[in-house]
Every structure is written in C-alpha cells, then in structure tokens.
C-alpha cells in the first residue's frame, strides 16, 4: 500500500536503507527547466553585444576550441558577468525564501531590518566622501548594512524581539538613513552623484573574474549550511509550538537562518549594490509553478538565478549601446510581479 500525496512522487532508497529520500517530481522538473532556461539565456547573452558572436562559437569558446579573439570576448569579458548574474540571482532567491518562511509572510524581506538603506549609506560614504575602489565600496556597503541591522535589532530588543517592533524600528531607521542618502546625493557633484545612484540601483556593469571568485567562495560556505537547516525551516512554518514538539530548537534555528539570510543579501549588495525585488518575487513565483506548500530553497534559488539573468540581459540590450543598471529592470519587473499578485488575490475571492 502506498500514500497518495496528491502529486507524483518518487522514493529512492539505498539497498540497506542507509539513505532514503522522497522526491517530488514536479518540483525537480521545474528546477531543471529553470536552470536550463537560465543557462540558455546566459549563452545568448554571451553571444550578444557590440560584438556579435554566433551561438556555435560561444559554445566552442566555453567547451572546446575557439579563436583567441572569440575566447577573450566570451570567456574573459562576458562570462564572469553571466556567472555573477546566475549566482547572485540564486543567492537573492534563497535569501528571499528564508525571510518569507521565517516571517510567514509573502512580503517578507531582509529590508525590514533596514539592511539595504544602511548598505547604501555605507557605500555612499565611500563613493562620495572617500572616493574608493570597488572593494572599498563593497566593504563600506557591508559595514553599513550590518551595522544598521545590528542597530535595528538592538533598538527593537526589549526582553526579546517582537516582530512588530522590529518592523517599525526598521522603517524608522530606514527612513532616517534614506534622508541621509538623499542629502549626500544632493550635495555631491553631479557626476559623482550619478555614479553613486548607479551603484544604488544595483548593477553588474564592469564586473570581471576577480569579482567572481569571492562570490563562489562565500556561496560554497553559506549554501550547504542553509540547505542543512532547510527541513528545520519547514518545520518552523507550522508554528513554534508544533516545531518544538517535533524536536526542532526554534530560537537557535531561527537566529541561524536570519544570520545566513542576511549574509547572502550582504554578499549580493557588496558585489553589485542593492538589487531589488528578486528576493521578493522569486520564491512566490516558483511556488506557483511547483505548487508546493510554503517556500522552498533550491527552487527559489533556481528562479532567482533565471530572473536576474533575464533582467541583466534586458538591462544590457534594451537601450543599447547604453547599459541600464540591472536594478532598474528588476524594480520595474517587480511592479509587474505585484500586479500579478493582485490579480491572483482578486481571483481568490
């Protein structure tokens, strides 16, 4: 006799039951399709630009032999950007999934703790006052973001952190920092201000291989830790009581997940500036496709990677030869996402 889970499921077990797993067919299919889609767009992006490269040559440059010039364009110039779009998008999707699961709210996002505003402030200080390089800006953003998150947490702490107090303090601090940012942009020279605003919109312009490796290392550390906590995160969605009754240590798990989620967001912000909406939209969009209960980590990452890949390609090509910051595209897509949410809400009635 077997259980009807309401959807096609496969069970895989090793012969002596050393390991076993229950696999949801639809979820895996959606993930594979999204990854394939993201890679396909990536290949197209590798071939397009001021210097068009036919797909055959792109694949050749990636996997086999290609003339030196094509190899340089595809692998040395464009490939890092494509890889970053995929990896940072995946990180954003996963981070969004963590926050939406923990807050049990489809609009949950790391910015309730004021992280993005603080990161922008830190970056602006470096860009406008110190005139720093990419790494200094990244450090500034990290320091600003983390310091802000810590301040918000501390101010919201009064014998424990209530969700509601955290949100209000986050809004208040974000607003204050937002004012500081507006003022700094206002007072700077026009050129500097525009450069800063480009960073503030989130951009993958000009990023190369040296920016790729730190991201790979950080993801290699964070992602396995998050996946290990994945089942516990699922249990927490049933409420603290039910989760504790099943043997999950609620507070430590939650704290770890928050730290890991913020770390993911911090990594993306440091690498490319604050990119909006991917972490908000990816988990919900992929939920709609997989029909799964609650938010899921790997599918959200797959969707995030696909979303950012597409957005970056649009940002590069839409107004060619001018390149838009990818954050502008994601924010506009974000609006359409909310319209979709609305239509869904309307249909639910």
């Amino acid at each position: 006799m077997s259980i009807d889970f309401g959807r096609p499921t496969t069970v895989v077990r090793s012969p002596k039951e050393g390991w076993s797993a229950r696999i949801d067919v639809r979820t895996v299919t959606v993930c594979l399709v999204l990854v394939a889609l993201a890679l396909a767009i990536g290949v197209i992006a590798l071939g397009s630009g001021d210097y068009q490269v036919p797909i055959g040559d792109v694949l050749g440059a990636l996997f086999g032999e290609a003339p030196a010039r094509i190899h340089m364009v595809v692998v040395e110039w464009r490939l890092p950007r494509v890889l970053l779009a995929l990896m940072l998008g995946a990180a954003l999707g996963m981070s969004g999934a963590i926050f939406q699961s923990l807050t049990r709210n489809p609009l949950g996002s790391p910015d309730i703790i004021g992280f993005n505003s603080g990161a922008y402030t830190g970056a602006l200080v470096v860009i406008l006052l110190i005139g720093g390089t990419y790494y200094e800006i990244a450090v500034g953003a990290l320091v600003g973001g983390i310091a802000t998150a810590a301040v918000v947490y501390l101010l919201a702490y009064k014998r424990g952190v209530q969700g509601f107090r955290l949100i209000i303090v986050g809004i208040a601090i974000s607003a204050m920092l937002g004012s500081v940012n507006t003022w700094m942009i206002l007072k700077a020279k026009l050129d500097d201000a525009m450069a800063a605003a480009v960073w503030g919109a989130g951009s993958l312009n000009g990023l190369g291989w040296t920016q790729v490796w730190p991201v790979v290392v950080v993801l290699a550390i964070l992602v396995p830790l998050i996946l290990v906590l994945g089942r516990r995160m699922q249990m927490l969605e049933m409420g603290d009581d039910a989760a504790k009754a099943l043997g999950v240590r609620a507070e430590p798990t939650r704290l770890s997940l928050v730290v890991l989620g913020v770390a993911l967001t911090a990594m993306v912000t440091a690498a490319a500036g604050p990119i909006g909406f991917v972490s908000l939209a990816a988990p919900q969009l992929v939920r709609r496709l997989t029909g799964s209960a609650g938010v899921t980590l790997l599918p959200s990452a797959a969707m995030g990677g696909a979303l950012l890949m597409v957005s970056d390609w649009v940002a590069q090509r839409a107004f060619a030869p001018t390149q838009l910051p990818v954050g502008v595209v994601t924010v506009s897509i974000g609006g359409i996402y909310f319209v979709w949410l609305l239509a869904r809400e309307a249909r639910k009635q």
Partner: protein, 375 residues
Amino acid sequence: MSVGLDKSAVDKSPADKSASDKHTEELIDESLQEKQKQPDGLVSTNSRRMAGLLVCLVVLAAVLLLSIAVGSKTIPFGTVIDALVNYDDSNDHVIIRDLRLPRTLLGLIVGMALGVAGGLIQAMTRNPLADPGILGVNAGAGFAMVVAVAVFGLTSIWSYIWFAFLGAVIATAIVYTLGSIGRGGATPIRLTLAGVAIGSVLGGISSGITLLNPTAFDQMRQWNAGSLSGRSLEIVLAVAPFILIGLFLALALARQLNAVALGDDLARSLGANITRTRILGVIAVTLLCGAATAAAGPIGFVGLMVPHVARWFVGPDQRWILPYTLVCSPILLLFSDVVGRIVLRPGELQVGIVTAFIGAPVLIMLVRRSKVSGL
C-alpha cells in the same frame, strides 16, 4: 474579507435615507464605543480633548510666528512685525513678505494636507503603518516630473508643478482601479499591493530615465529632498484650493471612517456605505497628497506619524484624530523647516530630510513603550 456589494445598503429612497443615515450614525457611535478593544487614549473626556486641541492651536500660532521670524538672515523681531503690518520696500521686509511668508503658508497647508492624508490612509487601509505615499502619489508625481524635465525640458518648480499634480492624480486613479478589479472591491490589502506595484514600476522607470539623463537626474535629486523653499506665493495659491477641498472632504468623512475601521462586514451590517466612503476617501487623499507633493516634493513621516500620535492621545475616534492631525501636522512640518534653516546656517537642510530625523527617533521611542503597542 468583503465578498460583495450589499445592494440593500445602497438602494434607498431619499426620505428613508436621512432617517436611516442618522440611525446608522448612532449605531456606529455606539458600536465604536463598545467594540473598540483599544484603550481610549490618554485624553479621555471630550472637554479635555477640546482643551488639548486649543493648546495645539496656540503652539501652531507660535510656530507660524517662529517660521516667519527665523531664517538664515537674522532679522529683529520688531522688523518682522513691521513687515506684516507696515510694509515698506526695504530689503528685510521683502525677505519677510516674499520669501518667508509664502514659505510659512506653504508649510501650513502642505503640513495639514500631508497629515490628514496620512490619517485617511491609515483609517482606510486599516494599517497603522500606512504612509500617504502608498497609493502611488509620490511615485506618480516624481515620474511625471522626470518626464517633464527629460521630455519637455522644463526645469522650474512652477513649470512642472502641474505635471506633478496630474501624475499624482493619474497614478492614484490607476492604483485604485487596479485595486478594485475582481469581486469585493478595493480592500485594504489590494489597495496596498496595487500602490506598491504602481509605485515600483514608476520608480523603476523614473530611475531608468534619470540615470540616462543628467538634467533630469539633477532636478530629481533636488525634488527628492522635499523642500518648502523657492516656492512663491503663486504656488501656494495654486495648490491651496485643492488642499482645502480635500480637507473639507476628509473631515466630512470622519464618522464613516470610524465604521470602516471596524472591518468591512461589521461596517456594512451597521449600514455604512463602504464603497462610497472609500471612493471619497481616495479622492480626498489624492487631492491632498497630490497637491502637497506637487508643490513641495515628497515629504515623509508627517503623514505616518502625526495621526499615530494623535490616536495615542485621543483614542480611535476619527472625529478627534483628524482635527488634531490637522493642527499638529503643520507644527511638525514648520518646526522641521525652521530647524533646517538654522542647523546649517547660512545653508539649509531640506525639510524632507529633517522630518525623518525628528520623526524616526520619536517613532522608535513610542514603540519601545509597551503600552503603545496596540495600534
């Protein structure tokens, strides 16, 4: 949430309407007193509330005077009075009449508009954290302004103010329409979602345009700070009618808003006409917020905080919250403006920036006092 329009609440003959409207009002009042789980506010009797209001009026008068008297150039108080009463064309008098007076008046009406719009939005969306900008007003005004600069090359506030106002109105109309499709009409969740949606799309496009067009970027970064300076009396007179209509509408809706605060089903069962209240409320918010933002740029916190604090003082009755908000919002705004004039003398700190610095710590302080957690 709401499921459908209750026709019986709508179709009534005129004679019946007045009697039943009155009855409805009584029911709403009773229900409000019985069913409100929130505390009745610090100031709990009507006479004390009236006294508080008078105190606030006095403070407002003082701040108005302060705003006329203080500025980057120190002008003796006697001269200030002189300029108002015995105007002659001296330099100081010109400053008073042509710079500070319009600025003060603008601060007064913009403050009132933002505060009351905030109170309306909070009541209509039943969300104490709602800011009047969530209906897309700021995004619409900003977007229209960016288009005006980038496409039409207009660069002064006087030239693009009407664009901004129109942009605000159209954005709000789109948000409201978007929020009303489907059964149930424009529920608070839908309005909020629609507002965020339109706000982000317009914000994204504005961002895109300004990052490609330096002139537009320059205008936008100045507009973004929210400022009362550089606006002449004509601007004040231009937006005043819209603001006054909006205020009038808002105050007239106060009682109906009390019903809406009880929840759609309960309000409907008491006979309140929710759709009409909502539409009129949105119109009021559009007029108030649109005109204020068009004239002064986006100024945050006033609309978020003042109705909040007013509710803390007088309890959840909109008939008290709105008047208090009306008087206290300009106090906050003008005071912030005065601080902005002093802090960086001889330069200035824009009022939009100052309000955040004053408002945020107060908000944090409030939320740390456990008694206020019931919003």
